[in-house]
Every structure is written in structure tokens, then in C-alpha cells.
């Protein structure tokens, strides 16, 4: 993996501080950080928890591709990309993406690209546990 990327799938709580420390760079003036957290409701249902599973080997590879694509499109100095697996309670963090760039516009665009693309290509699946049932998110049309 390129040494300016820090890509991890973890079954323990994620740390925004760790992601931010990794991307800090004296040559950069901007860091954008996206944090995805577990909401207490979705589509009008009360959610108790989420459970994430990953095809880890491929998920890490796909996250690396995304980081590289971001670095090809914007002047990314460093990028941290951490995703949690296992059971997550409401309020816990599922994903953190931090990107450092010389100027701010690129940090927003690269970070947004990474989270948008994660949701399309990275083999990670989320099961929602709500009042009265459970469902694999997005599985059906």
C-alpha cells in the first residue's frame, strides 16, 4: 500500500484523532474528515443497532483503489480510511475518512469522492436491527 494511505478494517471503536494525526502534514493547509455514525432511526423505524460484515481482503483492496483514485484527481497528501465491522450501537462510528490537501476545496472533494465511492464498490454489508425485524440494507430494489 502507498505509505501515504492508512487503510484499515477494524472490529474495535474507530478514533477520529488517529485518522487526523495520520493525515496531518506541514505542507498542507486543509484537512477534511467525514465520520459516518449510526442513526437511531431510518425510514420511520427505530433502529437498535447495526451489524457490519466485510469481505476484508477485497474491501481493503477496494478502499486502496479509492484512495489512489482520489490522489489521481486531487492533490491529496495523505488519506486515512477506517471502517468498523461487527455490532455497532446507535451513535457509534462506522467509517472515518480523513484527507489532507494544500487547499481546502480539494480536501472536501476528495473526501466526498471517497465516501460516495465506498458506498458503491467496497464489499461491506450492513444489517439493520429495528423494532419488529432486521434487514440487509439495500439488498432489494
Amino acid at each position: 500500500m502507498a505509505e501515504n494511505f492508512d487503510i484499515q478494517i477494524l472490529d474495535s471503536p474507530l478514533s477520529a484523532e488517529a485518522a487526523i494525526s495520520f493525515v496531518q502534514s506541514d505542507s498542507c493547509g486543509a484537512i477534511d474528515v467525514f465520520i459516518g455514525t449510526v442513526r437511531n432511526h431510518t425510514a420511520g423505524k427505530t433502529v437498535f443497532k447495526l451489524s457490519f460484515e466485510a469481505y476484508e481482503k477485497m474491501a481493503v483492496q477496494e478502499m486502496e483503489k479509492i484512495a489512489q483514485q482520489a490522489a489521481d484527481q486531487w492533490p491529496v497528501d495523505k488519506l486515512a480510511f477506517h471502517h468498523r465491522v461487527g455490532d455497532l450501537a446507535v451513535g457509534e462510528t462506522a467509517v472515518i475518512i480523513a484527507v489532507s490537501t494544500p487547499h481546502r476545496q480539494a480536501s472536501f472533494e476528495a473526501c466526498k469522492y471517497a465516501i460516495d465511492t465506498l458506498k458503491q464498490t467496497v464489499p461491506i454489508w450492513k444489517k439493520e436491527f429495528f423494532e419488529g425485524g432486521e434487514i440487509w440494507v439495500a439488498a432489494h430494489p
Partner: protein
């Protein structure tokens, strides 16, 4: 062709396990596998999408599958 198939997300529930031995007649490629799977497990046809990864890369329908390949069912992803 007979392989060990890995299934994630909803496909694990439909196939009844993370790793299942799976055998099919017909072409030894992704298309042949998917045709057979959808026939045997009609619920797979109800999914929004169903992709196959061979050796941890997304594979096209004509990708050949051999007994040594790591073959994985990828239902619609929902990370983040």
C-alpha cells in the same frame, strides 16, 4: 465444476452459510455459476444486484472459474 463458494450479506442467509460447496453443470465461468445459482435459489434473482468476485476482484460474466479460484458472491454493498 465444483468450487467452495463464499457468501456475504444476504447471500449468506440465502445459501445457508458463509462457505458452501457448490457444483454446477454448464459453462465454468461467472455466467454459468450465476445461472445455476439463480435456478437453485430463486431469492437471488430478487436482489437489486448480484456480482461475483474471483480472487478478490470483481469479475465479468465471461470470467472463467477454476477449482483453485476464490469465488465470492457480492450482493448490493452497503458500507459507510
Amino acid at each position: 465444476m465444483k468450487i467452495e463458494l463464499l457468501a456475504f450479506g444476504i447471500t449468506k442467509d440465502i445459501l445457508g452459510g458463509r462457505q458452501v460447496s457448490y457444483e454446477w453443470e454448464g459453462p465454468a465461468n461467472v455466467e454459468g455459476l450465476l445461472l445455476s445459482l439463480r435456478e437453485k435459489h430463486p431469492q437471488l434473482a430478487d436482489l437489486k444486484s448480484l456480482k461475483v468476485a474471483v480472487n478478490s476482484e470483481y469479475a465479468g460474466l465471461d470470467k472463467t472459474i477454476g477449482p483453485q479460484d476464490e469465488v465470492v458472491l457480492i450482493p448490493p454493498v452497503s458500507g459507510g
